[in-house]
Amino acid sequence: MSEILKTLRSNDLALGLIGAVAAVGVWEICARTGVVDPTLFPSPSLAISAAAQRLTAETLADNLMWSLFRVFSGFILGALAGAAIGIAAGWYRGFGTIVRPLIELLRPIPPLAWIPLAIIWFGLGEPSKLFIIFLGAFFPVVTAAYQGMRSIDPVLLRAAQTLGLDGLPLLLWVAVPATAPDLATGVRIGWGLSFGVLVAAELIAADRGLGYMIINERNTGGSVGVIIVGILLIGALNLLTDAAIGAAIKRWVGRWHGA
């Protein structure tokens, strides 16, 4: 049974790859035969060669590192704050009663809507972008942490109590690990949102980073090829980091949670 599933799954992967390769092929042919205007939509080979010409490895690496640095720092701060507040709100009833309405009120505001305020508060420098990315990670994680805390099997807490645990040790050794699977889901969603918010923030207000790189190319009348390579690169980066986080989560909770 699992053998069949495995072959099916590797077939799925192969088919998916064939689809992607075919799409690139069609694109190449369309651009070359003039079905689409190559100045608006250059063929993949043209896009890559244009990008190779206009971008030095150095500038590319610099922009990439800046984007990664921003998204990591904002995400980590947002996820930590979200986890801490969500867990505390789930554990300490009084605290939860106070902060939950506030969180529920702010949560529906898309992080990008904060950009004007962020610029007024923090200026155009790094802190405003950090703040927006922070929000992207914070809300999914805080919600997941709170929900996770509320859905802990009470028998686990009781079992630990009969073994003499209460207060903070009960929270840290039982409630927090019991919440880990929910937390992991929140972290993964938060990462995706942080990443999306990052590029948007860089499009609007930045002087480095992948988002800046593509919007600058457009503003200075550069090559469409660079923009296309840029967005594909952003996609690839998101894909890779998401896969890495997924793998880390699987290592962390997969064995006992059965992911």
């Binding site: 009781r158 009969t162 073994l163 645990l165 949670h257």
Partner: protein
């Protein structure tokens, strides 16, 4: 808290309908359940009485079973002894000290295994030593000893979801034994197991009980199981939960289902349960 009205009411109840001879010897009163009542607040604002005037004393090293139909308050009573829930009336003392919370020498095995899914078998048992002040290596060493006691040393590194129900309950028993509690409280611990595993674990439990001399309070739906294991069987009746009768199981161990006395007791308890 001494509620004199409650005590008087329960004393009257006892004199009207005696369920068992009440021992007064403090030596035989290791666990003393005195006129315990429990009411839950219902959602409608009224309250439901789940336990009323429960009086029982349990001697040290005694094996006592609670039987009774579903919803008669067995789990609630066990939880009160465990210190996981408060009695609304009366009180329970263990060796003369009122029960004010868990961790006063009560080890608990729950109906569902209640193992920590993020810990392996050995770490689940080692978790039981968290409050013992032992360091990590000693905790694991002691946990391995307990796993050996329940015959599971080979499964030490398995996670709960990788274990069968019987293995999970063995680990639960090992973990409950970690702090070397004087009392083992077990809430239908074998209820979810198949007949064969169940009988196997009954034997294991008796072996451990005899070797370690614990006081065991055991909740079960099965009269057979109660008869195989217990010194005394306490029959609870519902609405509100109260003790209907207490049976002495005066049978030598190891017991056999085929003995006539076993069957006579079975019939007697069954009659009382079903009327």
């Amino acid at each position: 808290m001494l509620d004199h009205d409650n005590l008087a009411r329960c004393a009257l109840r006892r004199s009207e309908a005696p369920v068992a001879k009440r021992t007064t010897s403090p030596f035989l009163q290791f666990i003393a359940i005195n006129s315990v009542g429990k009411t839950f607040a219902a959602r409608t604002g009224s309250s439901i009485s789940v336990l009323d005037c429960v009086d029982l004393t349990i001697a040290e090293n005694e094996f006592v079973s609670f039987v009774g139909r579903s919803g008669c308050g067995k789990t609630t009573l066990l939880n009160i002894i465990a210190g996981l829930e408060d009695a609304t009336q009366g009180q329970i003392t263990i060796a003369g000290r009122p029960v004010t919370g868990p961790g006063q020498g009560q080890g608990v095995v729950f109906q569902q295994h209640a193992l920590f899914p993020w810990l392996t078998a050995v770490d689940n048992v080692a978790f039981g030593f968290r409050k013992s002040g032992l360091n990590k290596t000693d905790r694991r060493q002691k946990a391995m000893d307990l796993l050996t006691l329940v015959g599971l040393e080979a499964a030490a590194s398995k996670y709960p979801r990788e274990m069968s129900g019987g293995m999970q309950q063995r680990v639960s028993i090992a973990r409950a034994l970690a702090l070397d509690p004087q009392i083992l409280l077990m809430d239908e611990p074998f209820g979810a197991l198949d007949e064969l595993t169940r009988i196997e674990l009954q034997h294991e439990l008796l072996r451990i009980w005899e070797a370690q001399r614990k006081t065991v309070v055991f909740v079960t739906h099965s009269i057979n199981e109660a008869l195989m294991l217990s010194d005394r069987i306490v029959l609870l009746a519902p609405n509100p939960g109260r003790i209907k009768r207490v049976f002495d199981v005066d049978l030598p161990r190891p017991r056999s289902r085929t003995e006539p006395r076993f069957n006579a007791l079975y019939e007697e308890i069954w009659d009382e349960l079903s009327t």
